[in-house]
Symmetry: C2
Subunit: 333 residues, 2 copies
């Protein structure tokens, strides 16, 4: 039942060298005579020898794997980030242990312990918010951490985001300038710092700039789901809102379809700008105008930053803001 496990000793014996030499050629150490290098390489080929990464990890204290904590892989937003992460990880010879957290504090802590036990060289964390438990563990651990698409007001660890406040201000300003005096802010939980301290602040700033009053009844805090959005049309029309900035695409599609299914026209009666520019925005009719976050790039940059940290390189700035954009489609004028 034992699988043909070929070790470094087998190679050493066949090549008439010591295991140290084999180790050297495997690790690209230059201190090996070309001739013997060739010989060793040949034996490695013949025996189909593959270094045992676990033993390697134990001896070198490096596993070349990073832990990635993600709320839910089947959420396109996070999955896009994950793809960027994995591509850069592969580029730098790292593997990724992917762990779903469901945004549950308890599960996050458990997952984190697990990842740390597996001796990951670094961690990438994604989520709508960062619990105190988790933040505490991060700062206690010596393992480098980077947040991707995730806000931490403390800025104790690395992070890669866009400027959410400014992006929010920008699109709300557009909505107002296009003639909407009652612009709704449709968001997920206000417990999330990103919604409360960044996007809502941007929303308020835009109103202020345009000398419009802040009206709390225009603020909708729900969950990030299609269903939640679908049921919002009644309240929105009742209150006289003529436009909305929505913080999540599925939610926005819900709002859109709720409107359409109840006889409203978009953008004639109601205008919508959403936040994530996922492919959904192109698939619905009318297509949705959206802030465009470079999701793939955010993941990629986060992973790149992490490689630098793991490599103990100098980091110029560990809080990175990537440029955002606004893609105008047919849900606005």
């Amino acid at each position: 039942m034992d699988k043909q496990t070929i070790t470094i000793y087998d190679v050493a014996r066949e090549a008439n060298v010591s295991m140290a030499t084999v180790s050297r050629v495997v690790n690209g150490n230059p201190n090996v005579k070309p001739a013997t290098r060739q010989r060793v390489l040949k034996v490695i080929e013949e025996l189909d020898y593959r270094p045992n990464a676990v033993a390697r990890g134990l001896a070198s204290k490096k596993t070349t794997t990073v832990g990635v904590i993600i709320p839910d892989v089947s959420n396109i937003f996070f999955a896009s980030l994950a793809r960027g992460i994995d591509d850069v990880a592969t580029m730098y010879k790292y593997n990724i242990i992917l762990a779903n957290s469901d945004e549950s504090g308890q599960k996050e802590v458990q997952v984190l312990n697990n990842l740390l036990a597996k001796q990951v060289d670094g961690l990438i964390y994604m989520g709508h918010t960062l619990s105190d438990d988790v933040r505490a563990k991060f700062s206690r651990s010596k393992t480098p951490v980077v947040l991707a698409g995730t806000i931490d007001p403390d800025e104790q660890v690395g992070s890669v985001n866009i400027d959410y406040k400014e992006a929010s201000r920008f699109v709300v300003d557009k909505l107002v300038k296009d003639g909407n005096e009652k612009v709704a802010f449709i968001s997920g939980s206000m417990d999330y710092s990103i919604n409360r301290d960044y996007r809502l602040e941007g929303y308020k700033a835009a109103l202020k700039e345009n000398h419009l009053p802040y009206d709390e009844s225009l603020i909708f805090a729900t969950d990030y789901s299609y269903k939640a959005g679908e049921s919002l049309w009644a309240k929105l029309t009742a209150i006289g809102a003529t436009a909305a900035y929505v913080v999540d695409d599925e939610l926005a599609v819900g709002v859109l379809n709720g409107m359409l299914d109840h006889g409203m026209s978009v953008p004639e009666d109601f205008q919508i700008i959403t936040s994530n520019n996922t492919i959904l925005t192109e698939m619905v009719r009318p297509k949705l105008t959206s802030i465009s976050q470079p999701l793939y790039d955010m993941g990629a940059v986060a992973m790149r930053l992490l490689t630098k940290m793991m490599n103990k390189e100098e980091i110029e700035e560990k809080t990175i803001l990537l440029p955002y954009d606004m893609i105008e489609r047919n849900s606005t004028n």
Copy 2:
């Protein structure tokens, strides 16, 4: 720079026992006197000791991690499977190393070597097809393998799917019975066994049952993309097709929108049934009728099967077919 690395020896010393005893309590070995177990547990708590999984893996030859090869995490179809896989993996105390393959044979082989080097206890493979290289590696390796949502005509390794041929036959039959005499088959590459040997066969079977001729000009083999679908409307209408069975949701949405954007009505002028019942089918207007594959469950069952294989349990049947369904929405009559 060394992180406070607390080992089993530290615990042993503090608890006045040997490291063997600590190992026993950590691993739940019953041969430990309750009193000393308590003492050890207490010290573990105090020192915040966390067993090093790498050392454990080297000593026990088990890493409690499985490799998952996925074409692209940001594809909702595979991501849904991945979510099911991870949930069950977590349930059985396994972690997942996720690796994107882009369906590239070369990358797959590389990824596979990598995963094997990391000593994963098992492998789950997803993809539209299984290359000979990869299949060869699977049968040569002693590491258990399960395919999820992936066809292998050989049936040498475990697999979890739905009955693609039957599902295809079923929906095409419906389309025909609803009065469509020219039903298009819109597929990805015919190099993929799943399209060529299963779905197309189901399509042919349905035609035959209904005494309709097989017309090759109704077969469209393109790639799985929104854009590809969007441009198909001209050919479809030119040939007089009044309905289509589409093998991928993004592709189907493309077909739908292509039709609508060019003045056709769905389902009045053209009916569509798609294959994966992802959330996309609910987000477009009209909503798409779809075969429903239990994606999450397929992933979950695949992982469950793998745990059995890793545990060397008896497997009654390693080629599992899960039930499919058809969800009728508004793209059919």
